[in-house]
C-alpha cells in the first residue's frame, strides 16, 4: 500500500466503568457456581426444555420458567476449536497464550451447552463426543464464569 506521510491517525482506547446487575436468573446461576461448584439451569413448564444460562422466559413458549434443575458437572463435547493466532484478551490487555482450546459442552441433565476452555489443547487429542468434566477454581471464586478454569478430558 502506498505510504501517505501526511495522514493523521489517532489511537484511542475506550473504557467505561460499569456495574452490571446479574438479576435473579443469571445471579442464581453464578451464585451456585461460587458457593457450591455446581451448575443449575431452569426449565420451561410447557415444552420442558432446560435453558443455560437460566433466563426469565422460554423463548419458544413465551412463558416464565420458574423450575430449577441441577445439571451434572460432566458432559459431552458437541463442538470445539483450537485458536492458534494470538489476540489481545480484552479483560487483561495482554496477548492470550496460544494455542488455546474452547468447546461447547452439553452438560448431563440439560438441553443447552456451556462454552468454556478445554484443558486439552492438542487438536489430535480432542474429538466431538468426548466426555469432559468441569474443573473449578478451588480458592477465590467470585461468582464469575471464570470460577470454572476449564473442562478436562475424562474419556477420549
Amino acid at each position: 500500500m502506498e505510504q501517505k506521510p501526511n495522514l493523521i491517525e489517532k489511537q484511542i482506547t475506550m473504557s467505561i466503568p460499569c456495574t452490571f446487575s446479574t438479576g435473579p436468573y443469571m445471579g442464581r446461576f453464578l451464585r451456585e457456581i461460587r458457593e457450591n461448584k455446581r451448575f443449575v439451569a431452569n426449565k420451561c413448564p410447557q415444552c420442558g426444555r432446560t435453558m443455560l444460562p437460566p433466563r426469565i422466559v422460554c423463548a419458544l413458549c413465551n412463558v416464565e420458567a420458574g423450575e430449577w434443575v441441577e445439571l451434572s458437572d460432566r458432559g459431552t463435547l458437541i463442538s470445539f476449536d483450537v485458536v492458534s493466532i494470538p489476540t489481545i484478551n480484552p479483560m487483561t490487555g495482554k496477548m492470550r497464550e496460544v494455542p488455546y482450546a474452547t468447546g461447547n459442552v452439553l452438560l448431563d441433565g440439560g438441553d443447552a451447552t456451556l462454552w468454556h476452555f478445554l484443558e486439552e489443547k492438542d487438536p489430535s487429542r480432542i474429538r466431538v463426543g468426548m466426555r469432559v468434566q468441569a474443573v473449578f477454581r478451588e480458592e477465590g471464586r467470585t461468582g464469575a464464569i471464570t470460577d470454572i478454569l476449564h473442562f478436562r478430558t475424562i474419556e477420549k
Partner: protein, 385 residues
Amino acid sequence: MNERVAIVAWAQTAYEACKPHQRVQEMVYEVVKKVREQTGLKFSEDGTGIDNAITASDDIWDARTISDTPVGDVVGAHHRSEEKVGQDGAQAVFYACAGILSGHYDVTLVVAHCKESQPASRNLITNLTFDPFFQRSLGLDYLSAAALQARAYMDRYGISPEQCARVVAKSYNNARGNPLILRARELSVDEVIRSPLIADPIRELDAYPVTDGACALILAREEKAKKITDKPVWIDGMGNAYDAYFLGDRDLWDCQSLKLAASKAYRMAGIKDARKEIDVAEVSAFYSYQELLWTEGLGFCPPGEGGKLLDSGATKISGQIPVNPSGGVLVGSPTIVAGMARVIEAAIQVRGEGGSRQVSKVRTALAHGTSGPCGQLHTVLILKG
C-alpha cells in the same frame, strides 16, 4: 392504507434511581407481561396476535452491541420479527406505527429500556456521541452541551434561573399524582435555586436524575384495535426531524428541528392552532430550560416567551395548555425510555385514567421525545380519544 393506528395497552415500571435486582430483560418482561395480560394477546403471525416487536435501546448505554438481544426472547422475537430503534422511545412508537400504516403488520409490541445507573457516570456515555477528533477529548457531553444551550437561550430572551426552577417545582409537585415516580415530593423554587451548580447555569435539580426503568405498549391497526379494547387511543399525527449534529452549526437558542417535527405532526392531525387545540402535552425536557424552549418550538407561545407562558400559569394542570402533568423527565425518566413514557402518559390522559394528575376534558394530547445533544432529533405524536 386508510385505517388508523391505536395504542391499545401500556405498562411502565416504577422509575427509580437504581434497580440492582434486575437485568434489562427482567425489567422489560415486567411490562411486557402486563400488556399481554391486559390484552390477552399471544405472539403469532397468523393474524390472531402480536406479529411484530420494536425495541428501543442504546448499545453504549447498555455496554452491549445489538442491545436488543437480551430482550428478544421477552418480546416474542424468537423465530419472528423484531427491530431495534437506537433512539428515544417516541421514535420507536413512530416507527412501529409506520410499520402498521404500511400494511405490513397488524399488531406491534413496542418496548424501551435503559439502566442509567449502570455506567459510573452518564457523561462517560454521552461524551461518546461527539466527534472523536473535534470535541470528544475536550470532554463535551450532554450535560455540558445542555448548559451551553441553556446559557444561549436564557441570555437571548432574558429567561431567569427562577423561571427554570419553577419548571422543576411544577414537575415534582405534579409527580405526586404519579405513583410510578418514586422521587415525587413537595419541592420549592428556593430549594432548586439553592441546589449545587453542576454546569452553569444548570443546577443539580435543574437536571433529570439518574434513573432505571422500562415501558411497553401495544399498537394495533384500527379493525384489530376495536376488538382488543373499547378505549383505543388513536395516533392521528406524527412527525420527526433532525437538527445539525455539530452544535456550532446551530442557533442553540432555537429548536428548528422541533418546529419542523411539530408542523408535520400537526398537519397530519389537522391541527391549525396548537395552543387552542391541544388539551395536554407531555414533553421530554431533560433539563429545566428545555421545557420552556420546547413549548416555543411546539408553537404554544411565540419564540422567547416560554418563560412568560410558564409564569401565566397556562402550563399548570389546571391551565389552558398543561405541560407534563406526570412530572415529565425531570422527576426521573431514563434516556431512551423518556419519550415513550411521554406517549404512555399522554395516552393515560386521553383515557381519563390520570387520577390526581388528570387534566380535565382531554380529547387531544401531544407526546414528545428527543434524542441527541440539545434536542437534535425530535419526535412529536398527536393522540386522540
